[in-house]
Symmetry: C2
Subunit: 413 residues, 2 copies
Amino acid sequence: MKTTRADPQPADFTDVRATNLAVVLRHLRAHGPSSRASIAASTGLNKATVSSLTGSLIEQRLLRETGLSGNRIGRPGTALALDGSAYAAIGLQIAGDRLTALAVDFAGEQLLLWHRQFSSGPGTAALDLDPTGNGAADGRAISAVAALAQRAATRVRQHGRQVLGLTVAVPGLVSDGGTVSLSPALGWSDVDLRGLLTGSLRQPDLDVAVANHAGLAAIAELRHGGHQAQSDLTYVTGAAGIEAGIVVDGRLLHGARGLTGQIGRFSLGPAGSPTLADLAGVDQLVRRALPGFDPAELSDLTPAVEQVATEARSGDTTALAALRDTGCHLGQGLALLANLVNPEVIVLGDHYATLAEWILPAAEAELSRNTLAPAAGGARLVASSLGLHAAALGGAVAHLDRIDTGALPTAAP
Amino acid sequence: MKTTRADPQPADFTDVRATNLAVVLRHLRAHGPSSRASIAASTGLNKATVSSLTGSLIEQRLLRETGLSGNRIGRPGTALALDGSAYAAIGLQIAGDRLTALAVDFAGEQLLLWHRQFSSGPGTAALDLDPTGNGAADGRAISAVAALAQRAATRVRQHGRQVLGLTVAVPGLVSDGGTVSLSPALGWSDVDLRGLLTGSLRQPDLDVAVANHAGLAAIAELRHGGHQAQSDLTYVTGAAGIEAGIVVDGRLLHGARGLTGQIGRFSLGPAGSPTLADLAGVDQLVRRALPGFDPAELSDLTPAVEQVATEARSGDTTALAALRDTGCHLGQGLALLANLVNPEVIVLGDHYATLAEWILPAAEAELSRNTLAPAAGGARLVASSLGLHAAALGGAVAHLDRIDTGALPTAAP
């Protein structure tokens, strides 16, 4: 997904065509069904080019004709719409003790959303394939992910869609090759998740990827979050530590090795000073809001977070104070993002979204107070509307987005 | 300088040609004089295309023939080299009480480097053009910048170069239109510097721009800093507050409104907690290293910083402790950059570069300790070799870089 300025590549007619295919597809995604004439009028492409481009897209089953166009220019034209019936992609997400699979087709229709119980830990990612596995290694995490991926792919094919690819969302550092370099939440380091999955799935035509949770969630927000922002959006998750998915100029911030967005690590002061995650993490919030609870014993914070919301709704002062305090500290972290990368919108995701009613006011005040530019540099702070599986959605969307750049899928086998 | 994914533009043959012109220019910049045949062999462009492209570039005086090529393929070919004799650009920089002008031509030759005394403050940016000017307004800052820009442009033209443009580097927030939204160091807010300068210069053909100091310095480092990094580099300056110029994928990180890189503002903890600039700023360092000095009385920290270096070299324990402490805190700020944007190289600029011998070891240790990814995510921490006028150089380079994207200059008047 990365392009660099180093070693620029020569362009030829293929690139022009890909760019123009992208222009047509994005026009239809943004504006809904349109006639060839109105596509030509809106994009500046000439009619013959639009006819040729849409012809290819119809042949590839990415567009279909849908009767007469309503907002026509001149005589009524046949309207074209995105066709979701040929292609879909799958996203999986590992968060807490829950494995989620989600499939969505090219037109944006959700084909399935499944949840499974899941166990992670140091030995769970080892398979026979992995010679470094120790005695505790049982590989059940890989088996569980592979089994769910396999079932999801089968179901999507039953829906008549070609599966373009599958991405697993993981909290922590994921290197370019799909290796989980370090995931404190899962207890994994240097796990070649992409290689292990590819080996388990034995589907050589399936494009398997692994990527960071927050980054994929940001991709989902960009396409399905309902924000105006189209190029500079940051998603902040508290699902495991605190991580940010930073979209810059419409693309996920990649950096030198793909190791971006680790905002929760920040601290300032003498060694041992608390980090942002220590002060604003969801586990800390639960600990303070529900004095009886020990979040260390919970592998999934979701029920505890719902409990916090219930307490807050009933006016419990301990819970409300903990939420306000979390909001203040989180706002200091968000100011960092606003000061450094100047996003158009900052989206609070997953557990933060569940608790946004109580966290947002304090976070917004601190964000403003700590940003040098007035009004937080224009950044709007909002809660995600995509729920707890935004990363899985992003995993699927990442494959579909590639089509929107004009890189059409190769023919179905 | 910004492109967004929103409203993609259709491509045509002009874009292909611009891309390929860029390929040829960048090849020559990276590899030095080369024959047409070796350009074709290295870039994958066919020979007829290379002949046509280099023909245009020679006609535009961006390339020249330089005799026989050394590393030839087949029979000896005429070597082509970048030609600096036709075009140049100017950068100006306001830092402390010093105004710097620098001009560089398309081949990278420095044509002039001038310094002037400079005064800034709330009234200094007001001109008759500015109806909000109060009694203290004298506009001398604008007059000084305009006068130096005028003289530099005249001198560059005497060198026989067409002046492609001029950029003024300013510490603080600069909005897209060239307005200094807020510069605490200069005491300016909402100063339409670009508009005021354009009005003073009365040279309608001159492309005048205003941009952030750290961002321009990062552009200079990318092209002239001698780093291997070509796409992900961050420059950190302590010239006024602490600011970062963040290059992502070969382009300066712009964000929604161009208000990026304000790393010095960061703090974590109760209201009133020290910011990164409070702990690691150059003015604080001077205060601690030289107990007699009051940096608030200095409008330019350069002599004090040199004094600190002298003390450190002589083994003064107060100075050494202050430098180590600054390095530690700065390293915590750099870890933030490494965790969030994962640069390939972090360049310590200006005063930090002068003092790098003593600051770097502690900064490097803290950077590593506070980054989640091992070895700081691969980020190398280095001192700038461009001295105290990197931002002025970047201001000139920004205009020349545009040619390297294939956007050739319009004909000289």
